[in-house]
């Protein structure tokens, strides 16, 4: 039996990579749409439930579940972005309260469909590495696919296809005057970011219990990541998410799973007190 700390470290590393995928989505929404999306956690939950439903129908592998969850979440995200977020994004009250309403709406819908009880997915036999260290199958898959997706995102953002996103993040008026359809790019980005959250949820679904409120902790984790690491560097988001994933795993191991949620909440409070400027959100000032 390996040292438990080592095992916690390894599992945290795997989970943190998937959280990075979700946090990168949050950062994209902040950069391009310039809103704080409190329903991001609900899309994570959606991905996990899609994976659960697929596992019940014989498609057990997260590699198959993640793209399906991503497509479903993309559709919902585009709907939400086009018909709610875009029209109200200049109103400081409607955005946080409205996206929270979407999150609660989904939590309650999930509870009515799948019930309030924790569900679990067959995780597959883990590989036992040197020294009795357990290498979980879902963890390896989550780590590799998240790293690949984030690498792809980094490349797309720095290359030609990512130019409109970078330009809108910097100055949307210039982007509009250059003939870019700013509104469409906004809601497509919103949908894409929601798809990333759902993919993360599907990849991590075998790691623990699937419950209607499971998305709240990853939402806070993404917020902490975006406040600290900013939204410019995919690499910083990746490293910080892994750090927080390990920290959350350690909290859950040494104290109780609840404590990792409370620690994240406390981190949000602390960060906002230390850095009152938080993250630069310019929506509402530009209009």
């Amino acid at each position: 039996m390996a040292h438990p700390l080592l095992q916690v470290l390894l599992d945290g590393l795997f989970a943190g990579a998937a959280y990075a995928l979700m946090a990168a989505g949050m950062a994209l929404i902040l950069g391009v749409v310039k809103v704080i999306n409190l329903s991001h956690g609900a899309f994570f939950t959606l991905g996990a439930y899609v994976a659960y439903a697929l596992a019940g129908r014989g498609i057990g592998s997260p590699i198959a579940a993640a793209p399906i969850a991503a497509v479903i979440a993309f559709a919902f995200g585009v709907f939400l972005g086009k018909s709610f977020v875009n029209p109200v994004r200049s109103r400081p009250f409607a955005l946080p309260v409205g996206t929270l309403a979407c999150a609660l709406l989904f939590e309650q819908a999930a509870q009515r469909i799948w019930g309030p009880h924790p569900l679990s997915i067959e995780a597959g036999a883990p590989w036992v590495g040197p020294g009795g260290l357990v290498l979980r199958r879902w963890g390896v898959i989550a780590f590799l696919s998240s790293a690949a997706l984030l690498g792809g995102l980094k490349w797309v953002l720095s290359a030609r296809p990512g130019l409109p996103l970078r330009l809108i993040a910097e100055d949307e008026e210039i982007a509009g005057s250059l003939g870019m359809d700013v509104e469409a790019i906004r809601y497509l980005t919103f949908g894409g970011a929601c798809a990333m959250a759902a993919a993360a949820g599907a990849l991590l679904s075998p790691s623990g219990a699937v419950t209607p409120t499971m998305g709240r902790a990853p939402l806070l984790l993404s917020l902490v990541v975006v406040i600290v690491a900013g939204m410019d560097s995919v690499g910083a988001i990746f490293l910080l998410s892994i750090g927080l994933g390990i920290f959350g795993g350690a909290c859950a191991w040494f104290l109780s799973p609840q404590w990792s949620y409370v620690a994240l909440l406390a981190a949000v409070c602390l960060l906002l007190s230390v850095r009152p400027a938080g993250i630069v959100v310019t929506a509402g000032r530009l209009d």
């Binding site: 809103v35 704080i36 409190l38 018909s83 709610f84 029209p87 109200v88 200049s90 109103r91 400081p92 009250f93 409607a94 955005l95 946080p96 309260v97 409205g98 929270l100 309403a101 979407c102 609660l104 709406l105 309650q108 819908a109 509870q111 009515r112 309030p116 709240r216 806070l220 917020l223 109780s256 609840q258 949620y261 409370v262 909440l265 406390a266 949000v268 409070c269 906002l272 007190s273 009152p276 938080g278 959100v281 509402g284 209009d287």
Partner: protein, 337 residues
């Protein structure tokens, strides 16, 4: 500044008269109970409006002072054995102090970050209440956790209509107090802080102090509603601190019309009685609240009161009288005040 009341005094008197008559028509105990909790929730929604509407500090953790007062009420009467009036007074003071603390933390923050901070603070309190059994009462019973803590009441089995009238009286008093506050000089300054903090600051308003004042005042009223809720239920439970409760207050305020005090009270009464009276399970109720809120935010940003005013001004224009144009509306698309 709009001084005309959204509801005229005549309609108000008619409404109160109907509510006073209602128990005399001998309705069943369930319906009386729905109305009683409705009155307390309406006062809670109005107290949200003091913070989130009048002062523009979007709080998503307003259940924190509500639940803190409920827990204080339960602990002080059951565990410490305080007499009830003293415990209620202490609970309200505690809620005001909690509000002062939230206000101090959130004063430097802008817009959505106030929402984020208050949400996080409320969730911490909820987790603390739900996850830990702090206290054990006499007889070896474990108190705390999901089951909550009982309130030691000096009376046994109060008749339902007495709590109905007590809650109605409390609602009338509290709404009157909050309306007076929102139309006082301090209320005017709070509206200025909500409208444009920079302009307010340039005019010499100490905005951090007024933000703290807004949170303290709103939280004191929320605490009074929370203490009343604990007395009515006979128990303080973790749901008194839940995110869903904070969200409900914001929903009532948005649907009624933020910043009007009366709008949230009426919206809370109507929506609560409607959704409770339909015998829906709690999860379906939250679902309906969320849907109502989303539709309101998207299509009627001013809520019922704001939409009614807009219609009235449109009708006025058709009559040939000059409509009162709203100056602040076009810039933010937000204000209906």
């Amino acid at each position: 500044m709009r001084s005309a009341a959204p509801v005229s005094v005549g309609w108000l008197a008619a409404g109160i008269g109907l509510l006073l008559l209602f128990p005399l028509s001998s309705p069943d105990a369930f319906l009386l109970d729905v109305f009683t909790t409705g009155f307390l929730l309406a006062a809670f929604a109005a107290s949200w409006d003091v913070v989130g509407g009048v002062s523009g500090q979007i709080t998503l953790g307003h259940a924190l002072p509500f639940g803190a007062a409920a827990y204080a009420c339960a602990l002080l009467t059951s565990l410490a054995g305080w007499p009830l009036p003293l415990a209620v007074a202490a609970a309200i003071l505690l809620a005001a102090a909690v509000g002062m603390g939230i206000g101090a933390l959130s004063a430097p923050l802008a817009g959505p970050f106030v929402a984020l901070l208050t949400l996080a603070l409320g969730e911490i309190a909820h987790e603390a209440a739900v996850g830990h059994t702090f206290f054990s009462g006499p007889g070896g019973y474990a108190w705390g956790g999901e089951g909550g803590i009982p309130v030691a009441l000096p009376w046994r089995d109060a008749p339902p209509f007495s709590s109905y009238y007590a809650a109605l009286a409390f609602l009338c008093l509290a709404s009157f107090g909050m309306l007076r506050l929102s139309r006082s000089g301090a209320g005017l300054i709070l509206r200025a802080v909500a409208g444009s903090p920079i302009t307010a600051q340039a005019s010499g308003v100490p905005i951090a102090r007024f933000k703290r004042l807004a949170f303290a005042a709103g939280s004191a009223f929320a605490g009074a509603a929370g203490a009343g809720f604990a007395l009515h239920m006979g128990r303080a439970t973790a749901t008194d601190l839940s995110l869903e409760l904070s969200f409900q207050a914001a929903t009532f305020a948005a649907v009624g019309g933020r910043g009007t005090i009366a709008g949230p009270v009426v919206a809370a009464l109507v929506l609560h009685v409607l959704f409770q009276g339909l015998y829906l399970p709690p999860s379906a109720r939250v679902l309906l609240y969320a849907l109502t809120l989303l539709v309101t935010l998207r299509f009627f940003p001013g809520g019922v009161v704001g939409t009614a005013r807009e219609l009235a001004s449109r009708l006025g224009r058709r009559d040939g009288t000059r409509p009162a144009r709203r100056g602040g509306r076009n810039r933010t698309g937000e204000g209906t005040r």
